[in-house]
């Protein structure tokens, strides 16, 4: 395994499958009455969040605590960062306190990469989302969810997503979730299709290992999973689309569209959902929608990542 997790593109197929398999072991821990492993006892992990993200932070925190790590939460608001302290100084201050790993969420694309490759700190760096660049643990938990649902909990062990047809719909341009998923799904052998209005696709998307379509209705029947990306309402003020209603009509997933999907196909969403915008309540609350599972799986996947990066070398569940 590598020392840092910065981008889903850095993972080999075997790395990714190992993380998913380890996450299955971690998930079994969650089924026990005492949901805790001693693996990271005495290790300190800081959650360094320069952007608000309660769900991601809580998910990492739960994962860290289940592995018995000492956890420090650092949020930029109200801290010295808002008084002009630099990322470098903040990181060095934390490292001086003896931190083994830094889980970083930052609004600037590349900030975790910079932290890992500069000589600022020695700690392991885990990217919890940077700007519009990457969110690798999100892609891993999405792949984990797909493998469970489309291949099987036990049958999936050791397997990738070869031949699975995955469709991502929405604001690809501003989405780190989309970038991470395209990279990881490609590595795992899936066929990815991106659906969005042309305004919400980046110039250069033609070089990505994915098909592009402007028409959601033409791809639904050929999808094993459809992942809806959040679309911020404010985007229409910058003319990315005319109105919320038009966006919904052309790219939103409602019950009628969901019915076009194959029987076994699932609906995914990284959350938080904008109900009535990219997804209707009927779809969000249906059995085919995996949003709540994705949240639970997120903890297992993040446990696996922490365990593997911080040097776990015994079988996790054996402890």
């Amino acid at each position: 395994m590598m020392r840092h997790l910065i981008s889903a593109a850095d993972l080999t197929r075997d790395d990714a499958v190992l993380i998913l398999d380890t996450a299955e072991e971690m998930a079994r821990v969650a089924d026990r009455p005492i949901k805790k492993l001693p693996t990271l006892r005495g290790r300190t992990v800081v959650n360094l969040f320069f952007e608000d993200s309660t769900r991601t932070r809580i998910s990492f925190e739960a994962a860290e605590k289940r592995l018995s790590a000492d956890v420090i939460n650092f949020t930029a608001k109200g801290s010295s960062v808002s008084k002009g302290e630099s990322l470098k100084d903040t990181a060095q201050t934390l490292e001086a306190m003896g931190v083994d790993a830094v889980v970083i969420r930052h609004g600037a694309s590349g900030a975790p990469y910079r932290l890992a490759t500069s000589d600022w700190i020695d700690a392991t760096v885990i990217n919890a989302g940077d700007g519009t660049h990457q969110h690798p643990t999100q892609a891993l938990l999405d792949a984990f969810t797909m493998r469970r649902r489309l291949v099987g909990r036990d049958a999936g062990l050791g397997q990738d997503l070869e031949g699975k047809r995955i469709t991502l719909v929405g604001d690809v341009l501003h989405s780190r979730v989309a970038r991470s998923n395209v990279d990881l799904l490609h590595t795992l052998g899936a066929e990815v299709t991106l659906v969005a209005p042309p305004t919400l696709l980046p110039i250069g998307v033609e070089n990505w290992p994915a098909e592009v379509s402007y028409d959601i209705d033409s791809v639904l029947a050929k999808s094993d999973a459809v992942m809806m990306l959040r679309v911020q309402r404010e985007r229409m003020n910058a003319a990315f689309f005319p109105t919320e209603r038009e966006y919904s009509r052309r790219y939103g997933l409602d019950g009628e569209r969901m019915a076009k999907m194959p029987e076994h196909a699932i609906v995914m969403h990284p959350g938080p959902m904008v109900r009535g915008m990219e997804i209707t309540a009927e779809v969000a609350d249906s059995d085919r929608c995996t949003v709540v599972e994705q949240v639970a799986n997120g903890v297992s996947v993040r446990m696996a990542v922490l365990y593997l990066l911080l040097g776990g070398n015994e079988s996790a569940a054996a402890q």
């Binding site: 590349g110 900030a111 970038r179 250069g204 998307v205």
Partner: protein, 428 residues
């Protein structure tokens, strides 16, 4: 007056000759010249060029003396073989009044390392709304002839038109930083394949090209000349080529870094590669080299943009845009243009000395190496190979994209009106 004999130099890279300087002037050019009473510089076949002229330098003073001063900037210029630099107007306060341009002019005179010709802002505070007192800056002791809001684009078409027209009265020229502001909101790097992957806001080529297209048409309409700063895309080259073929009085510059580096380097997220306009693609780099060779692009200008260490030792989005360039420009041009066979040394002299002086209407610089001309000269050891070490820079700032990179050529001597400012590669 003191005499200096430069013995055995390849003048403009051609014939080996001796050049005798008496006082401020070249008094003899030939072979086997007498060294009687003269200090001798053995050139040993080094290349002798006219002193370089930079039409686009940020000296940062007044206001940002933590990154550069007129003194440190002119020392950097002399080290790089320059005898004159045009100082951009985006200082604090902005050089938009006679008072500020005269201050910069005076500081340049006091520095003694190279001539400093201030550039005046086109609009008050670089805000693009109201013309600065262009005439007053021209009439001042600084004698401003080049006007630019560089760092910002004069994006209002009417303001641009008026500025182009107004400066005709005193032979001025507007140097445009071509960047359509709405198309570049939040822009962090060239928009394309790499930005799509890195998730950094895109700076599309069309934001530069659309402004250049508009401005050459405006220049044609009002019968003015216009200069384009740091042209960076293949499309811009096509527009300027078309404009020149129509007889429009347009000139253009390219920076050394746009002749060598591409946006692939941004994958490192190292802000030392963050610059405005951004590094483009290989296709653009090749088009720029070709255009500089065929004269579509007239000159090389450094856009020397010093920044303090802390403004680059951070995450990409928080970093300042710009690179230092005065001390590496000639080496980069040697590598990209001379060693590729695109230009000879006479061509380099034309594009880094004669033409920039002509565009800026700067007297006494960019002159031929001939009897009776002012002795502004640069001696280059073109055979030299070495890694760039920013610790050795004369500039106060170190934000170079070339650290550790091997570049050819080293300036061993620079003469400003007969007086050596650089001797054996060291500031005199």
């Amino acid at each position: 007056m003191s005499k200096t004999l430069i013995r055995g130099a390849k003048v403009l890279g051609g014939e080996v000759q001796d050049v005798l300087i008496d006082g401020e002037t070249i008094v003899q050019v030939g072979s086997g010249l007498s060294d009687e009473g003269a200090e001798v510089v053995e050139a040993d076949g080094k290349v002798l060029l006219p002193g370089l002229v930079d039409l686009h330098t940020h000296l940062r003073e007044p206001g940002r003396e933590d990154s550069e001063t007129v003194l440190t900037g002119t020392r950097a210029a002399a080290s790089g073989g320059y005898t004159a630099v045009f100082a951009m107007a985006n200082t604090f306060p902005v050089a938009d009044t006679a008072g500020v341009v005269e201050q910069v002019y005076r500081l340049g005179k006091e520095s003694g390392y190279c001539d400093v010709q201030p550039i005046g802002a086109v609009t008050v505070g670089l805000e693009g709304k109201k013309l600065a007192e262009l005439g007053a800056m021209h009439d001042s002791a600084a004698g401003v002839k080049v006007f630019s809001d560089d760092g910002k684009c004069v994006d209002d078409a009417v303001i641009m038109r008026r500025a182009l027209e107004y400066v005709k009265a005193f032979g001025g020229v507007v140097a445009q930083h071509a960047q359509e502001p709405r198309l570049t909101e939040g822009a962090q790097m060239n928009e394309g394949v790499v930005s799509a992957e890195l998730g950094l806001g895109g700076w599309p080529a069309v934001a530069e090209e659309s402004i250049i297209a508009r401005d050459v048409l405006l220049a044609e309409h009002v019968g003015s000349r216009v200069h384009i700063c740091h042209l960076s895309t293949a499309g811009s080259v096509e527009i300027v080529r078309w404009a020149k073929s129509r007889g429009i009085d347009v000139t253009a510059e390219v920076t050394p870094h746009h002749l060598l580096l591409t946006d692939e380097l941004v994958r490192s997220y190292n802000p030392v590669y963050k610059v405005n306009p951004p590094l483009r693609t290989e296709k653009d780099v090749l088009a720029l080299r070709e255009a500089l060779a065929d004269g579509t692009i007239d000159i090389v200008a450094t856009d020397h943009a010093p920044h303090p260490h802390e403004d680059k030792d951070c995450e990409w989005a928080a970093a300042a845009m710009g690179m230092v360039g005065l001390e590496t420009a000639l080496s980069v041009v040697q590598q990209t243009m001379v060693e590729t066979g695109l230009l000879d040394w006479a061509g380099v002299a034309e594009r880094m000395s004669a033409k920039p002086a002509a565009i800026g209407r700067l007297e006494g610089h960019g002159r031929p190496i001939a009897v009776g001309e002012p002795a502004n000269l640069t001696l280059l050891d073109a055979a030299y190979r070495g890694q760039v070490d920013p610790a050795g820079f004369a500039s106060r700032s170190r934000n170079t994209p070339y650290e550790g990179r091997e570049l050819p050529g080293r300036v061993t001597h620079t003469f400003l009106r007969g007086r050596a400012t650089v001797v054996d590669g060291k500031l005199a």
